[in-house]
Amino acid sequence: MALRPFSRVKGKVQLTLLSLLALLVVLSACQSGGSQGQNPQQQNKQTTLNILASPAGNFSSANFNPYISPNAGGMYGAQGMIYETLIYVNRYNGEIKPILASDYKLSDDVKSITFTIRQGVKWSDGQPFSADDVKFTLDMLKKYPATDTSGLWTTLIQDYAQPDANTIKVNFKNADATATWLFSQTYIVPKHIWEAKSNPATDKNEKPVGTGPYTLKEFSPSAYTLVKNPNYWESGKPEIAQLRYIATNDNTAAMLRLSRGEIDWAGVGWDPKFDANFVNKDPKNYHHWFESNNTVMLYLNLTKFPFDIPEVRQAISTAINREEIKQKAAPYGVPANPTGLLPAHKDWIAPEYQNASFTHDTAKATQLLEKAGFTKGSDGIYQKDGKRLSFNMNVPNGWADWQSALAVISDNLKAAGIEAKPNAMASPEIYSNALNTGNYDTAISWTNKGPSPFFFLNDWLLSSNTWDQGKAANGGATNWQHWKDSETDNLLHQYRTTSDKEAQKKALYGIQKIVVEKLPSIPLYYNVSWFEYSTKNATGWPDKDNPYAYGSPFDAPDCTQIVLRLKPAA
């Protein structure tokens, strides 16, 4: 056990250090050689796009089951790139494009839909695709409810029939104009492979076989590559040879890689100060486009004092300075239209609210409070019957933009004699649990998105989407504020049961009037969809002048439609 004399150790240390140094030099040489490996020759042969969908750590396993969403452990690309749907509904503008169905027809009474199955489509293993695969998929969703991620069988489908070999007619339980959207989220899987799976809901499907424009080439936890499907049915597409999805642990690392030009397509949370290292560095190639895609609201628990008093809700809304939020907290967050509808859905906004906007007026807020019987206490905070106008505003800790938005709101409300305390909660799960069970005062949160304003209004305002007595609605509440109003429910029902767009518009106009006048929650500003891209390797991305889709790489199957439009850069 005797330790060696120092001289020899010293010699060894020096030797080790020297060899380490040598190794380092060799490695750096290899590295620089490696990165220049994309020589022009190779680039002509094939274009690879590096995609950074979401900084959520390493990919845990090759889980290409299209019925396990990326939020629940699935891999990006399984939905859309590898597996396709019958039809595609663009969630930006609501346009419908036939995919695996060459045609579709929603009946006039919206009680059934008929799909004509596309001919000449092949699975990536060479087997032909047919109506049998569609039937198999529908049956599988019924047999394994956990795979039925859009709730087709629980909410929509009564049964289906096959009038002839290439036609499938699906009958609904009730008239439902939203059926096209549900089918646009239902991925068709091959019968000859999936019928052998013992539980499709938990199967990892490590070797996916789909009809989509790409197939899996190689998977590793740090990155996986999808390669062009030679059998793809749309001739000449896709023009991009490979898609490579990259794992990152956090936004800072993602930022660094973007600024080094390593990434072609990203959906990373942004701040104007990042521009110096990205857009400003190479304005010709590096771009971003942040389009509003859902409305951030201040949700008030309507079952609690004082939010059950309409004047209090109006006072809170009037006291908030939305321009200040944009300046200090959400640089891309345009103040919301009082109806809460998105700019992309301008066609659906009632004529009287087309140009409406919120006005910030502290004096009017205090008048409203006094009208409702509140008096100012000695501490400067309004009160009624001995109860102070004081409440918490929930937000997940670390969601910096929302936390700073609440700081602005807190100051605004204080000026109007309302004490609103930001309440940073330990984790997003604890925070959403509070929302889902109604165990909160107020909270800042998003609204759902969809191809028309109906989807967000329905989730936000329909009575049956709320929690009750401390229990979440099945599948999680979305009517967090507990808005129960039969008139709203009727109008939502009217939209759902007609295929006449004018009648649908009229129904939504009615709901907008309720939203503006009664303020079920307080619309603040729009959340944007994060979308950064480089035109070095590919062109044809959606942007301000050609807004054909939200650009985020994680909206499936919209991302596939973007890739199909891309062309390799000259």
Binding site: M1, L27, S35, G37, T154, S220, N474, G475
Partner: protein
């Protein structure tokens, strides 16, 4: 031998205790794993109570009384079944850990050992040449480096060497941007080595001063012992006095420290993994805690407990080898 047996009995008891605490702790956390999982499936239409129960079963969350769950848990542990990681559904915990553990051990383990060896050696040299320029420069300098908050140091080095100078890659375990795939090929191995240099350097820089100072202080005490004086008086070569007489005795506290730090290796180095986007256990643990993934939390804690106990056991053995008093229990 008796000493060894007693230690083994002690470690078995400690293992049982840590396994039990491991079972209880996650269940004391506020929140419900099934609800957390369902939240992630938002937009799944209507989920009936039956589906919720099915998910519960799938995730291995049962409504049995705690003591029954406890025995199920012990039984599963013995069979090596750690359940399904809900945050990586439907991947088993064992697979999640197996994917990331080699990266963690490779990077943090090797860096810790390098740091220990370099630091201890430096401590010996510094104490031997006490009050020389080596001592007055090296010791405060290292203390200064280790006083820099780790993430700041790591980000700084990343900014200078990777971002500005481009000598090292920006992060990741290997070059995932070219067509390199994990396996026993030269491209991959070189790429892994290159990607490990900067993270390893930060780990070494931030931890080395502890070893140096520990060794230096222990050496200073030992050097004033009579047997060192005797060894010198006998006219033994200086190196021999330094290593076989002084250092062998002074290294004992550092050996304990090494046991501890090797035990911690398995827990991953979260900050390193964050800054360098390096694959590893630390980030898994973070996502598991955020997502109420009890099985994965338990799996990782179990690894940490076992690694900790093993490392301490090994350092006990080394102790016995280095110090005859421990061996003969006549301390």
């Amino acid at each position: 031998m008796r000493h060894l047996l007693r230690r083994i009995a002690f470690y078995l008891a400690a293992l049982w205790a840590s396994v039990t605490i491991n079972f209880i702790l996650p269940r004391l956390m506020p929140g419900d794993p099934v609800q957390a999982y369902v939240n992630r499936l938002r937009g799944q239409g209507t989920i009936t109570q039956a589906t919720l129960d099915a998910i519960r079963l799938q995730l291995g969350v049962s409504n049995d009384p705690l003591w029954i769950q406890y025995f199920h848990y012990l039984g599963n542990l013995l069979r090596g079944e750690l359940g399904i990681a809900t945050s990586h559904f439907p991947t088993p915990v064992v697979q999640v850990i197996a994917t990331d553990l080699p990266w963690t051990i490779g990077l943090v383990g090797v860096a810790s050992i390098i740091s220990f060896l370099l630091g201890t050696l430096l401590g010996v040299v510094v104490s031997w040449k006490r009050n020389s320029w080596v001592d007055t420069v090296v010791t405060p300098l290292l203390t200064f480096f280790s006083a820099i908050p780790y993430f700041w140091l790591a980000l700084g080095l990343l900014y200078i060497f990777s971002f500005n100078m481009g000598i090292f890659p920006l992060g990741g375990g290997y070059d995932a941007l070219s067509d390199i795939y994990p396996g026993w090929n030269l491209d991959f191995i070189l790429s892994v080595l290159l990607h490990a240099i900067l993270p390893a350097l930060t780990v070494v820089i931030s931890s080395i001063s502890g070893w140096v100072l520990g060794m230096r202080n222990a050496m200073v005490t030992t050097l004033s012992e009579d047997y060192v004086l005797l060894a010198r008086a006998k006219g033994l070569p200086e190196r021999r006095v330094m290593f076989t007489y002084a250092a062998r005795n002074a290294i004992l506290p550092n050996i304990t420290g090494l046991g501890m730090s090797l035990g911690f290796v398995v827990g991953g180095a979260l900050l390193t993994e964050m800054v360098f986007s390096y694959p590893g256990i630390g980030f898994d643990l973070l996502t598991a805690i955020r997502g109420f993934d009890y099985s994965l939390i338990q799996g990782i804690f179990l690894m940490i407990a076992i690694a900790m106990l093993t490392a301490n056991f090994l350092s006990d053995i080394v102790y016995a080898l280095l110090d005859p008093r421990v061996r003969h229990e006549r301390g």
